[in-house]
Amino acid sequence: MPPLPASFSIPSPMDDDIARAQRGDVDAFERLYRTHVGRVNALCIRLTGGRGAEELLQDVFVRIWEKLPSFRGESALGSWMHRVAVNVYLVSRRSELRREARVVTSDEPESLGVDAARGFVTDDPDARIDLERAIARLPAGARAAFVLHDIEGYLHEEIAEMQGIAAATVRAQLHRARKLLIEVLES
């Protein structure tokens, strides 16, 4: 299994709560949820572009609950949860792709619908919101590549392995995402 992204670090969970939750203690699991949900929720929102993020968050934590007894502490619990979240998203996305067309697939930057005049001024909260909106409107594959690589710090090869695609495809999707975002935010 490839190493987890070095950029992903969160406060250490209470080992006692992990052990209790592994034995079926829902209250202990709630404490773990409270510790980690912010990070997992941000990931869910960005991966889905906000569409179905709440449902995905529920699915992720139900899956984490189911899988928790297999957590052996080889990585930080937060990193492990993160990996579960990505897997749940990818499974749901595969199902979605089988039954319906993607909402946004255009390569035209104007279709991303952000205020292009604001640019990249990242100490400006409005600019951050624009970037979030632009990310949300990216095509799903490009969005996943950008979120996982440029925000979450996964390597191309890790993303490729998780999605069952070639690393070259991930690079192409990432390039597409960056190009679209730059065009929108800079023009």
Binding site: Q22, E30, L57, W65
Partner: protein, 212 residues
């Protein structure tokens, strides 16, 4: 659309990366998120695989108590018996158990046999329990498969041979149980062997990996 070719040293890429780095790493969920998750966990009786509450463990232990299985071990080789007994001695206190489905069967009143009226129910419950064991095994085997290439060949061989032995014993015991579903000894034996399988998989998944 303007042609924006991106070269690796394009300063706009740095700007975009800085903007991405500046995005908040945490977003608070909706207040209703946890109640909904908890409801799904509890209403669906989603029990973590391999986990039971102390109460459930006690009830399961009572129902599935180990019998003097070796005497009826027509289903397993002596090597399996040795493996099972040795693993039993080494097994951690947190050995896996099936899900709460194990707790619903009526307990037979006579040790070693299930009353005829309960045979059908016992068979049904046993199958449910084994399905839980099988599901837990599949998960652990996936983990083992992912780690396999980074374990020593000797370790992999030993683990796989042990698993084959246990799987053979499980198969033979299940076949025997289908012919004699009133035998609580066979149920207990199967429970024990399944536990050994999960324990073996768990311990195999805890073995240190080679660095290269």
């Amino acid at each position: 659309m303007t042609d924006h070719r991106l070269s690796p040293d394009d300063p706009r890429l740095d700007a975009l990366q800085r903007a991405a780095d500046d995005l908040p790493r945490e977003v608070a969920p909706a207040a209703a998120a946890w109640p909904a998750i908890r409801a799904r966990i509890e209403e669906a009786r989603v029990v973590p695989m391999g986990a039971q509450t102390p109460t459930a463990r006690r009830r399961a232990s009572s129902r599935w108590r180990l019998a003097a299985a070796a005497a009826v071990l027509v289903v397993g080789s002596s090597a399996t018996t040795v493996l099972v007994m040795r693993s039993e001695a080494d097994a951690p206190a947190t050995a896996a158990a099936p899900t709460a489905a194990t707790t619903t069967a009526a307990s037979p009143s006579t040790p070693g046999a299930t009353s005829p009226g309960n045979v059908g129910a016992a068979r049904q419950v046993a199958r449910s329990v084994w399905a839980d064991y099988d599901a837990a095994s599949v998960d652990l085997e996936r983990v083992l498969q992912a780690r396999r290439s980074r374990l020593s060949p000797a370790t992999v061989q030993a683990v796989e041979e042990s698993l084959r032995t246990i799987d053979r014993a499980i198969g033979e015991a299940r076949a025997a149980f289908e012919k004699d579903p009133a035998s609580r000894d066979l149920m207990d034996l199967l429970d024990s062997v399944y536990r050994q399988k999960l324990d073996l998989l768990r311990r195999a998944n805890e073995l240190p990996l080679r660095s290269s």
